[in-house]
Symmetry: C2
Subunit: 437 residues, 2 copies
Amino acid sequence: MPRIFNKIKLGLLLTGTEVMTGDILDSNSSFIAKEFLGVGLRIQVKVAVPDEKGQISQEIINLTQSLDLLIVNGGLGATLDDVTAAAAADACGVELAAHPIAVAHIEQRTGIKKEVAQSLQFKQALMPVGAEPIDNPVGTALGFYLLLHGCHCYFTPGVPLEMKAMVTGPIMRQVMEDFALKKPVEILRFFVLGLGESRIQQIIQGQVPAETLERIFLGFRVEAPMVEAKLTCFEQEDLSLLHETAAVVQSLLSDYIVSKADPLPARVNQLLRAQGQSLALAESCTGGLIGSYITSVAGASDVLEAGFVTYSYQSKTKLLGVPADLLADSGAVCKEVVLAMAQGALTQSSAHWALAVSGIAGPGGGTPEKPIGTVFIAWGNKEKIITRKLWIRRERTQFQHYTAMAALDLLRRQLQGLPTDKPYYFDSLTNHLLSMG
Amino acid sequence: MPRIFNKIKLGLLLTGTEVMTGDILDSNSSFIAKEFLGVGLRIQVKVAVPDEKGQISQEIINLTQSLDLLIVNGGLGATLDDVTAAAAADACGVELAAHPIAVAHIEQRTGIKKEVAQSLQFKQALMPVGAEPIDNPVGTALGFYLLLHGCHCYFTPGVPLEMKAMVTGPIMRQVMEDFALKKPVEILRFFVLGLGESRIQQIIQGQVPAETLERIFLGFRVEAPMVEAKLTCFEQEDLSLLHETAAVVQSLLSDYIVSKADPLPARVNQLLRAQGQSLALAESCTGGLIGSYITSVAGASDVLEAGFVTYSYQSKTKLLGVPADLLADSGAVCKEVVLAMAQGALTQSSAHWALAVSGIAGPGGGTPEKPIGTVFIAWGNKEKIITRKLWIRRERTQFQHYTAMAALDLLRRQLQGLPTDKPYYFDSLTNHLLSMG
């Protein structure tokens, strides 16, 4: 763990019944954790409680006794079940009062004067006496700051957009100042496909000295199967070490690195655009998912010529010219069919490149020779089409996602002139080898 | 809140550095919360701490002093940073020892005998002395149970698949027995599109007496824009009240109810299958996403005839016969183009129904007349094609998701003979009206 960490004890208190019922995934705390990690602060404890005043108040008292910095998220809304401000007042042993800055903020945003407002509209102006308002550029609920038991406490609204604006703006500025924090001097990123987080960590820790990783922080962000590995440098004097380390990481991860700035779909778009070339898709088991990934990136119309979703035998023949007797004899999941699909996509469009997939998503349709998870991928141009077989042992929708990502990655490797026969290690916690061409 | 709740104090302790760094969304706790909510137990406090033995041990001591039931998740793996078992032993003031049942389980799953194993392989057999193993049908790490300060503690592995098997199986059985819990007698579900959670709650609470909602529990599960509203009955004597309430809810939510059992894509598949009809897609701004949703459901080959991803002008003309001069004059986002796309999809396939979308996903491409988020949807058969314009103010990928769902819902309404011009209220926390045809 780099020396920057653990000097400051940071905690997170989440309020809200919906967080407790599991009705929403708690993405706010993930966002807050990442933001503070970016300035070298790791969350040491995270507590979630329902919207109950007594319980929130007690947790504020407990947590402030052991922490230096506490972010409270949720319960600042205008409805009756939003009780965080009242709980904070109780924890501090003070009254709630309408703060003039908050009143002015609400009047300005709603166009309603407090004198004529209905009872609940100005509830959001109530803060513990002595608290300092935190600006909310995108909503009516201001946050507030207070110091309790020597712990700096920031209260933020649960609405993600408002919380994010507050945390990334005024709160981060004040925290950096209060604790004299350093911003990262530089962050270098590697988007990796085909090696899991723990495998990457092993590879890097096996070659990069532990003392280096005390100064250059190695972090991960995983959206399986993509892994974003980040090297962060907090000191000007470590900059050359950062770049040396990055060079080592680059040579270690080699062609598994998709890019240094973009997730896979954006990288494929970029490679096609740079070469002035276009793509046609022929999707069976993924049902259009590859197309949706490519078009999730703005500007996809420059590179995606067309997509054929040919889920049925009939459409494979009609739209792509896959011979009906081939389908009847061999089924849709074989090398010959996926090759014919790619050829058909080239013929039926004016695209330079074609990418085709056909596989068994399950839960039905597996055989001993072709178990569920078997997928054939073909890619190429008018000169040459290459195929590869993978075995992706994931449940149906994950299979579709991994297949789409593997197909895009094979095209990425082709466009970069890299080997397309390297194994993909799709990480699980046990680091199984999930597919091999 | 129904009377069943809050008799038993349930808490959750999550361990693991990755939970703290925000690298993963904490979906385990959402799963655990939902499972226990299903038997009437609401989580009262949720704490997350890093893999640090002292901190975990202290939290176990703190939480068991106030709770009746504690689920601990994470840190039971075979690597050195998994320290939960040791922390539990410290909390109880006992030693760690290899449990013979756990040793046998690991030997059986790995085929390696303990005598010849490497040092870490049998680390997972170590449990606090006196703890009872909990079976893990899908992995090597057994869980364990112990009683501390009168609190029933269940320790589970962080791997989601293993945790889920353990929680839904042996743990739930033992908890139901320990606390003499009642299972829900019956749960009735409504999958709703076009009304947000808070709007649905308002509508229902406006018509169903509060006393009824003390006995029939109204719960929600949101995967925006879909909302699953659940009515749960815990007492045999309340069964007729459940069905009366469900009838009221059904009439209140009316045609916004997609189904009582299935999310939207499965419902559309089912309606098409029941009518023996097939579908062709013509997707522009969604890039294949509608197809991927339809094929996320097993058996989609019976209903999805073909999909055309026509992102470029050229492909709209070449694949679907959209007149090039229409595109040149009016652009791709207009009623006439989406109509021609649907017609082309019918002509170019043998499907009974076509569904077509064309819109402006952003971030570029908006105009004052057609702002970002504008989308035209067309659906119909050879007899009649209908179009509708929506304005879906969401960032690019959310726009694509909402558009795909709205398109599927309009087809669902058509197939059910329901009105296709009702407003969609896509809920945000402030319940804005996001789109109107």
